[in-house]
């Protein structure tokens, strides 16, 4: 068995790959700690995986960490050192937090699982991203991997050629501090959203922006890919993320774009400043899409490959995938369901496996979208009193539940779902979701604003079967796999009415999810057809600011804290009464 772990910088997680190269368990630390974006050493996840799979230290052949810790520590310091004395605060902060950096990984593993530290191995950060994407591709040879993130352990963007899984050559990279990921995060910060949390809000907001507006042009001009020099050009005088531990942008950016948004002011379309901030978001989105297209063109030029893997935090920018897939040389674009750091434990575990197996002709199966083993059954007896006081059990069997859920959905109700295993990525794909009729405007509005308290400018994702998707949306063959994990947006088809669905964004796109490998939803969609419901609106089961629910008790807590009434669980459908 082979373990992979991530942590210390972004969301931490652990993954387990068996001796045949199959991903058999995965867990994000935030699922268990209930702290959104938990980046501490993933001790709970590791323990859970070891307990769930009855492992002991001897059965684990190696454990791989997703970056080279000393590199990750030294490279930002080295950059800051060339900006002394301006960077003193940053340097002092980094040095004082030495003991909280990933250098501590060895001793944390030793403390938690004595003996396992001797089996600890390391890989380059961008390689961990590449190996996270590779298992999701049916092709394993002659591929090009593009990794774009904020910062790894030495670079921020890279292009690699995969001859076979045991031969992955890096052929181009972009060094810190020039970073498309950190540029986008800086604009996120400027717009008042939390860095590493609010980037998807910027993406949603950008659809309201005007491409030709002065602010959009100014924002997009802050960064570009120079096709002659083959490098990312960024005017660092507008940025401070490499010099300051507390603020990511400089006064020059404020002079250029005006006052940053107050994070506490609601961002509503009717507000006078809304257009200003939407234009800035638009500029960031334009720059991102343009640069990604340039990088992919260069990657094709370097490798001659038409099949691409795309990973790193920037690959979460689902709106840009459509543009990349439109490039005439792209035959296939594979983005893993969790392309950011949280998913990198999967790539790390595969690295450990590949180093041991030493077989270049790998045929490992494509991992499940739901590898995170559930513990819902363990909680049934524990919740007896909560259920007896607050809940009414409406159904027992799965068939009965499907019938009742369909009926409720067709009547405009929103249903919370906590069933089976949990998803890998940040997008809820149905097992930890809030769902309702995707064509019912009132239901979607309740789901989005009343239950989730989301910003009104962010649409909810539509979820459907493939045949329905083909009717309403312009699907791109290159991105089919990404639609299964809600990873890419697509355009609505003309004259189908889909432009007016409440799940369609202002720019006529939707971040669709097409059903794959989920027995429960296959049956549910079949039953929903009898009620004339073919599209569900799907959002993660959580409250704003919390991680997605992981277990039965988390689901009950969501019901207790907001107006959600119905919760479908492995133990039947329940109605939560707020006494």
């Amino acid at each position: 068995m082979f373990l992979g772990i991530t942590g210390y910088n972004h969301e931490s997680s652990a993954a387990l790959v068996d001796n045949d190269g199959n991903l058999i368990d995965y867990c994000k630390e935030e699922y268990l700690s209930r702290i959104k974006g938990d980046k501490s050493f993933p001790k709970r996840s590791l323990k859970k995986i070891i307990d769930n799979n009855n492992l002991d230290i001897s059965s684990i052949k190696s454990i791989a960490f997703y970056e080279r810790p000393l590199s990750a520590f030294l490279f930002p310091l080295k950059t800051a050192a060339s900006h002394l004395p301006e960077s003193l605060a940053f340097m002092s902060h980094q040095l004082r937090n030495f003991n909280k950096s990933s250098i501590n990984c060895f001793s944390d593993v030793a403390d938690l699982l004595p003996g396992l530290e001797n089996k600890l191995i390391y890989l380059d950060h961008h390689l961990s991203h590449t190996l996270t994407a590779l298992p999701y591709s049916d092709k394993k040879n002659n591929l090009c991997s593009v990794v774009v993130d904020g910062f790894g352990d030495r670079n921020t963007t890279s292009i690699s050629y995969i001859n076979n899984p045991l031969e992955i050559k890096e052929i181009w990279d972009c060094k810190y501090p020039f970073s498309l990921g950190l540029y986008y995060s800086t604009i996120t910060d400027f717009l008042g959203f939390q860095v590493n949390e609010g980037e998807y809000k910027v993406m949603g907001l950008s659809a309201f922006g005007r491409e030709k507006s002065d602010l959009a042009i100014k924002t997009s001009n802050l960064i570009r890919f120079d096709k002659d020099k083959k490098s990312l050009i960024q005017d660092m005088s507008f940025f401070k993320y490499h010099l300051s531990p507390t603020i990511s942008f400089s006064n020059e950016l404020i002079e250029l774009l005006g006052e940053p948004r107050n994070p506490f002011k609601k961002l509503l379309e009717t507000d006078k400043d809304f257009q200003k901030y939407a234009d800035i978001a638009k500029g960031a989105q334009i720059a991102t899409e343009k640069i990604l297209c340039d990088i992919f063109s260069y990657a094709h030029q370097l490798t001659g490959s038409n099949n691409f893997l795309f990973s790193g935090g920037v690959a979460l920018n689902s709106a840009s995938l459509r543009k990349i897939a439109n490039l005439n040389f792209v035959d296939k674009l594979i983005v893993p369901p969790s392309p950011g750091d949280a998913g990198s434990s999967i790539g790390s575990a595969y690295y450990a496996y590949l180093k041991e197996s030493k077989t270049s002709n790998q045929t490992f199966t494509i991992p499940s979208l739901f590898p995170c083993k559930s513990i819902n059954d363990d909680q049934l007896s524990l919740t007896n009193k909560i259920l007896s006081v607050h809940c009414e059990k409406l159904t027992n069997s799965i068939d009965e539940s499907i019938r009742k859920v369909s009926e409720l959905i067709s009547n405009g109700e929103v249903i919370g779902i906590v069933i089976n295993n949990a998803e890998t990525g940040p997008r809820a794909l149905g097992n930890r979701s809030l769902i309702c009729d995707g064509k019912n405007t009132d239901s979607v509005k309740i789901l989005n604003t009343v239950i989730k308290n989301r910003s009104p400018f962010r649409p909810t994702a539509p979820f459907m079967k493939m045949d329905v998707a083909k009717i309403y949306y312009e699907l791109q063959e290159e991105l089919i796999e990404s639609y299964y994990s809600m990873g890419a947006t697509c355009l609505t088809k003309d004259n189908t009415g889909s432009r007016d669905f409440p799940t369609t964004h202002i720019d006529g796109t939707a971040r669709i999810q097409i059903l794959k490998d989920n027995y429960f939803y296959e049956k549910l969609f079949l039953e929903l057809e009898t009620h004339d419901v073919s599209i569900l609106a799907n959002s993660s089961l959580n409250l704003s600011g919390d991680p997605t629910c992981y277990d039965f008790i988390d689901g009950l807590m969501v019901c207790a804290r907001n107006p959600l009434k119905y919760l479908l669980t492995d133990h039947g459908l329940i109605k939560y009464n707020k006494k």
Partner: protein, 238 residues
């Protein structure tokens, strides 16, 4: 100190109190949720579940008071008071070692809840003075104080029911111990901030020296361009 500066300090103090209290409430909610999931009996789980729900609601209240106040301030002040749950551990509201239910004996845990609910109620009295009792925020905080007293009473009842051999005076001892420890923590925190200010020039000097050394180090030899990433030493941390 100018009037403007004084005003700014007052704003920052207000926002800081609300934010830190929200952090404390979320921390407390997480502790209760963890206790709920690790309970031995469903009745215990129910009690912890209700308690967690209350604490989450309290946190929402403090965040809404914070938001109402901060939305009218300049963004360069308000942006520093954004809530992010990832700071819970950094600020010490949840221990890196694990939840209290994982690291404490059950008896000590219940006594801890009993004591801390009372301490929380006392600290809310100070917050109430800050926001004024008859304001909208003041009314919300008064309600929270009632909740905290209820939690305190429930913990006491629970403690005496399941540990009948222990006497109320022993609970008093727990309370005294936790009160002293709380004061100690505050004293330590205050001194740490003071020491931090005093030692900053030293930290900066050391950082400057480290920077000068780093300028001499060439990391280019660790460049990966053209290298097979699968063939780099598996034990190398650089």
């Amino acid at each position: 100190m100018s009037k403007k500066q004084k005003h700014k300090n007052n704003d920052q103090n207000y926002l800081n109190v609300m934010l830190e209290t929200a952090f404390a409430e979320v921390g407390s909610a997480l502790e209760m949720l963890a206790a709920c999931k690790r309970s031995e009996k469903s009745t215990f789980a129910f009690g912890y579940f209700q308690h967690a729900k209350d604490e989450y609601n309290h946190a929402d209240t403090f965040l809404s008071i914070l938001g109402d106040y901060a939305k009218d301030l300049p963004s360069n002040i308000s942006r520093d008071f954004r809530y992010s749950s990832s700071a819970l551990m950094k600020k010490g509201y949840v221990s890196n070692d694990g939840f209290l239910i994982e690291t404490m004996k059950l008896k000590d845990f219940i006594a801890y809840v009993y004591t801390n609910e009372l301490l929380a109620k006392n600290s809310f009295e100070k917050i109430l003075k800050l926001v004024k009792k008859d304001t909208k925020a003041g009314l919300k905080i008064s309600q929270i104080m009632k909740d905290e007293l209820r939690h305190h009473g429930m913990a006491e009842e629970h403690f005496l029911k399941y540990y009948p051999k222990l006497q109320p005076w022993q609970l008093m001892f727990y309370r005294l111990r936790e009160t002293l420890m709380n004061k100690g923590r505050k004293f330590y925190d205050k001194n740490l901030r003071f020491l931090d200010k005093v030692l900053t020039p030293l930290y900066y000097s050391l950082a400057f020296c480290a920077g000068k050394i780093l300028q001499l180090i060439d990391l280019n030899e660790f460049d990966r361009k053209g290298k097979d990433l699968m063939n780099i030493k598996i034990k190398s941390i650089l």
